[in-house]
């Protein structure tokens, strides 16, 4: 249950957690991203945690402006970006000050010594120089003149001093790449392809990267480089993927699997915008993206396109989901397929735009007026966003209903290696449009009944404009069962309300049963959903290693629940429900199954660590 990197022998580590931190303008996200990519090439398992402020450029050198990227690499399967970093790369005093408490005791600090002048120390709120006052005594400290060395390395290039200085993140990347024996070619090639159009920038970055690498080798500060061997992985072709890209690819895949054109109506919002960006690059798949005038127009346009026969999506985060509520109600009433993707972030209101939280479950479940049930699906890892998007689309199409897919900021920006799936293994989610009348009037003339339901799924026909003879009017007013005509009859409203509910509840029969990780009858059960999967898996594994009997069930379908969930939950001594909120799923489970489930809550804008969950579970058991 130790959380530190274990040195297997003198120079080999089984895993290491590195945190790059600097000013928002220092390029730390890019540095971390590059380190991640080369580690993926090296065959390590990995998980990442980008952690950046909402401000694009907060005042330079301040605590508010610190941007960090944590990456966990290992020679075995891992599930989280690591609890406490082993190595902190701090590009300025503010980065050191704000990140130090995360570092494990005895961990390594690599400082850009040039940034530690009086002004920056003062901006970071240091009264004394931490390098001199003994406060870093418990750590291994490396002071490196990154700025100076970068400037020297680029001195012969035709590049302005300011621009040259900006390459210092590549110096840091070069140094850390050397320390952990990362291959250099992928990064050098990447610099060339990324900055090829700006040769001086490419040259400066290359020079800085090489200088950092050479510095590691010659400075005799760092001993010999460590190795982190490749993790045993299932054979196949891999790529490194973030949750937002996986979501976008899942949407495209869903369109292909449904044989429908994809439409996205969306309004820019952190942390969901990257889905819009990614999807907008793939117009050659027949994908239409509309950057709407607001959140309501985003979903409105999507619903209009759904009426026209598109596989429609809208992407957003919490504030946007709140705004979309009325249109979701219309989609429920008109029974049109639509997928609403909520990349959750800290709330309420603007909250923590760039930080993760999973506190929109209640909003997704209940955030509409009237009796307005819909399916809720949650992704649990970055790559799982791909499959979750397909599943959400499958349900939307098959049951003619809006579906809410929940991801979160941690999944959205986090990355993991992904064994690229065989596309032939993906489900066929197509469903033909209705093209012929499905009824007759009193005189026997053919008639189209837009609300005549499939007896098995209770889904209504999807007939799109352009289909002769099936002209019909949809709307938000209550409809008569079958004809879809406006109807205010009390019996009809009750019947329609029950039908809409029964349709959604019936989805339970169409989804997989919940899979239990563990013996299946352990006295302790952990129920999770969403991005907590990695942390729960890691905690449960470690607890089992210590001899605890413990099961873990992780829910993809939050409404309706899998049919076996009642069975899985009952007769446990303890049920724990870790959530990045104040206890939302746990309330639903308690209400639904009358079980004394206990919440484990975290709302700090950060994912759980395995250690936190272990502590909470042990504490819960002891009570």
């Amino acid at each position: 249950m130790t959380d530190t990197a274990d040195r297997v022998d003198g120079t080999t580590l089984d895993r290491v957690v590195i945190r790059f931190a600097g000013d928002s303008g220092d390029g730390m996200q890019l540095t971390g991203d590059r380190f991640t990519s080369v580690s993926a090439f090296a065959g390590n398992d990995l998980a990442t945690l980008p952690d950046f402020p909402a401000e694009i450029r907060a005042p330079q050198g301040t605590l508010a402006g610190v941007s960090a990227f944590q990456v966990h690499i290992s020679d075995h399967e891992i599930h989280t970006p690591g609890d406490a970093p082993d190595v902190l790369v701090a590009m300025n005093p503010a980065a050191l000050k704000s990140q130090l408490e995360r570092l494990r005791s005895g961990g390594t600090i690599i400082l850009n010594d040039d940034a530690f002048d009086e002004r920056n120390l003062e901006k970071a709120g240091y009264e004394a120089d931490p390098r001199e006052d003994g406060s870093l005594a418990g750590y291994v400290l490396h002071r490196v003149n990154m700025t100076k060395l970068t400037l020297e390395a680029t001195a012969d290039l035709d590049v302005k001093k300011r621009d040259a200085e900006r390459s210092k993140n590549f110096f840091a990347l070069g140094l850390v790449s050397w320390m952990y024996s990362r291959p250099t070619e992928p990064t050098l090639e990447w610099i060339e392809s990324k900055f090829g159009k700006m040769p001086t920038v490419a040259a400066a970055n290359t020079a800085a990267f090489k200088a950092g690498h050479a510095f590691g080798e010659t400075a005799e500060m760092f001993g010999s480089p460590y190795k982190v061997a490749a993790a045993p992985q299932k054979p196949g072709e891999y790529t490194n993927i973030t949750g937002n890209v996986a979501t976008a690819w899942g949407m495209i895949a869903a369109g292909q699997l449904a044989k429908l054109p994809v439409f996205l109506g969306s309004y820019p919002i952190t942390p969901a915008s990257d889905i819009l960006h990614e999807l907008s690059r793939h117009k050659n798949f027949g994908v239409r993206t509309l950057q709407a005038e607001d959140e309501i127009a985003g979903i409105g346009a999507a619903l209009g396109a759904a009426f026209g026969g598109s596989l429609s999506f809208t992407t957003t985060s919490g504030p946007g989901l709140a705004l979309k509520g009325e249109t979701i109600g219309l989609a429920i009433s008109t029974e049109l397929p639509l997928v609403i993707i909520d990349v959750q972030r800290g709330g309420p209101s603007t909250g923590l735009p760039t930080k993760t939280e999973a506190s929109d479950l209640f909003l997704a479940m209940y955030g509409r007026h009237g009796e307005a049930p819909l399916p809720v699906v949650a992704a649990s890892t970055p790559a799982d966003c791909f499959f979750a998007a397909i599943e959400a689309a499958r349900l939307a199409i098959k049951f003619r209903t809006p579906v809410i897919l929940l991801t979160d900021g941690y999944l959205a920006n986090g990355a993991e290696p992904w064994l690229i799936p065989d596309i032939d293994s993906l489900p066929d989610i197509s469903s033909a449009f209705t093209t012929e009348p499905n009824g007759a009037d009193a005189d026997g003339n053919p008639l189209f009944l837009p609300y005549l339901r499939n007896p098995e799924t209770l889904a209504r026909p999807w007939a799109i404009p352009g289909t002769p003879g099936l002209e019909h009017r949809l709307g938000g007013l209550e409809k008569q069962d079958g004809t879809g005509n406006v109807n205010y009859d009390p019996n009809n409203h009750e019947n329609m309300t029950e039908l809409r509910e029964a349709k959604i509840n019936g989805i339970a029969k169409d989804i997989p049963t919940a899979d239990v990780d563990g013996p299946g009858d352990a006295p302790i059960l952990v129920v999770g959903w969403g991005s907590t999967r990695g942390a729960i898996t890691s905690a449960v594994e470690r607890l089992r290693n210590d001899g605890m009997q413990i099961d873990h069930v992780h829910l993809t379908h939050l409404h309706p629940f899998p049919t076996n969930l009642a069975e899985v939950i009952k007769d446990r001594e303890q049920v724990f429900v870790p959530e990045l909120n104040r206890g939302q799923l746990v309330q639903i489970l308690r209400a639904e199954f009358l079980v004394d489930a206990k919440p484990i809550s975290k709302v700090r804008g950060l994912p759980f660590t395995g250690a936190e969950l272990i502590e909470a579970i042990l504490e819960g058991i002891s009570q």
């Binding site: 990519s37 090439f41 992928p186 992985q233 054979p235 072709e237 891999y238 790529t239 490194n240 495209i252 895949a253 292909q256 054109p261 439409f263 109506g265 793939h282 117009k283 050659n284 798949f285 027949g286 994908v287 239409r288 509309l290 709407a292 005038e293 607001d294 309501i296 127009a297 409105g300 346009a301 619903l303 209009g304 759904a306 009426f307 026209g308 026969g309 598109s310 009325e326 249109t327 109600g329 219309l330 008109t334 690229i420 596309i423 003339n445 053919p446 008639l447 189209f448 404009p465 352009g466 289909t467 002769p468 003879g469 002209e471 019909h472 009017r473 949809l474 709307g475 938000g476 005509n485």
Partner: protein, 339 residues
């Protein structure tokens, strides 16, 4: 359900089987008739025609047409129609709503649909009152309007829908009124034929909550002197004796006696002028319901239509990099193979 064997050149073909539920005497009946009659003359198919509305009395419109339709939520019809028009450029899409729906709760969507030049035809029923909620003042009600929500008179100045549409750079802007079926049909036809977003403001009488609001302009005995007919390429003249006209003074449209200025001084109406300034000046003539008010087409200019441009981008992306292949997409980032 309408018998599909009925003749498309007959009004009945375009009429749904639903009972019309507007108040007896409502101006909406006349507008519905005009739209249905227009369709008997248009060369369009019922299945390719869609009416989309928001909420309000006018918004019940789609239920009464035998085409495809969607009665949506308050204010959002231009947004919903935008999605449909972008996804389905093959359809004839009409958007119907009142002044509250389009200019208050849905103002944002209206101006953006106009700005983008979405291929939709918007019929804006302006009765200067909230009808369905039983008589509150609307964003087009005159200052001082006494209603249930403004017992001491409304304070806020109204929108001029034509000025607003021109300000949003709408490519087709017109005004008509519910008493003149022939005029409505001709304006609606032009609006329908226009490529891009068209908006037609219809002076519509709410005989229950705001009866006679437009009578000072459209009543038979005053209309010659109060209604200014805009005819493309013609000097703007009106009046029982054609004695009045419109001139531009410092960019402002002013009503004059032709005898005072001479016909050559009159504004020649140019609906196709790429610069909307003159149309805007004309729009301001309708400052209240007691001033001579222009009717007809203020602006009809050609501009790229949004949905077509979207389709074009899809095509050119296809030509440039070939049709999308899911297998390749999943390998478009860096990949590596494990033994």
């Amino acid at each position: 359900m309408t018998d599909v064997t009925l003749d498309p050149t007959k009004r009945g073909y375009w009429t749904s089987d639903q009972e019309v539920r507007w108040c007896p005497g409502c101006g909406d009946y006349g507008i519905l008739a005009a739209v249905q009659f227009l369709h008997t003359e248009l060369d369009v198919k019922r299945e390719d025609t869609v009416f989309i509305s928001g909420i309000g009395c006018a918004a019940r419109f789609p239920y009464y047409m035998s085409t495809y339709g969607m009665h949506t939520i308050h204010g959002r019809s231009p947004a919903i129609a935008t999605g449909l028009a972008v996804a389905r450029p093959d359809l004839n899409i009409w958007v119907v709503g009142g002044d509250g729906d389009m200019l208050s709760i849905g103002g944002n969507h209206l101006i953006h649909a106009l700005r983008r030049n979405i291929n939709i035809t918007i019929l804006l029923f302006n009765n200067q009152i909230y009808g369905l909620t039983k008589g509150q003042y609307s964003p087009t009600s005159e200052v001082g309007k006494i209603t249930k929500s403004t017992p001491m008179g409304s304070i806020d100045p109204p929108f001029n829908p034509i000025s607003l549409a021109l300000g949003a750079n709408a490519t087709f802007v017109a005004r008509t009124h519910d008493l003149d079926r022939k005029h409505m049909i001709e304006v609606f036809r032009r609006a329908h034929d226009h490529k891009g977003a068209s908006v037609v403001e219809i002076y519509q009488n709410c005989n229950v909550f705001n009866d006679g609001a437009y009578a000072p302009i459209t009543k038979r005995d005053v209309r010659d002197d109060m209604m200014i007919s805009l005819v493309h390429g013609q000097p703007i003249r009106f009046g029982a004796e054609n004695q009045r006209g419109v001139v531009l003074r410092n960019g402002q449209a002013v009503v004059v006696d032709v005898a005072d200025v001479g016909e050559s001084e009159l504004v020649v109406h140019d609906e196709a002028n790429p610069n909307a300034s003159q149309a805007f000046a004309l729009s301001l003539l309708a400052s209240d319901n007691h001033s001579p008010t222009p009717f007809g087409i203020f602006r009809a200019v050609s501009a790229p239509e949004y949905g077509e441009a979207v389709s074009q981008q899809l095509l050119s992306s296809n030509e440039r990099i070939g049709p999308g292949d899911l297998k390749d997409l999943l390998r478009s980032g860096a990949t590596w193979t494990v033994g």
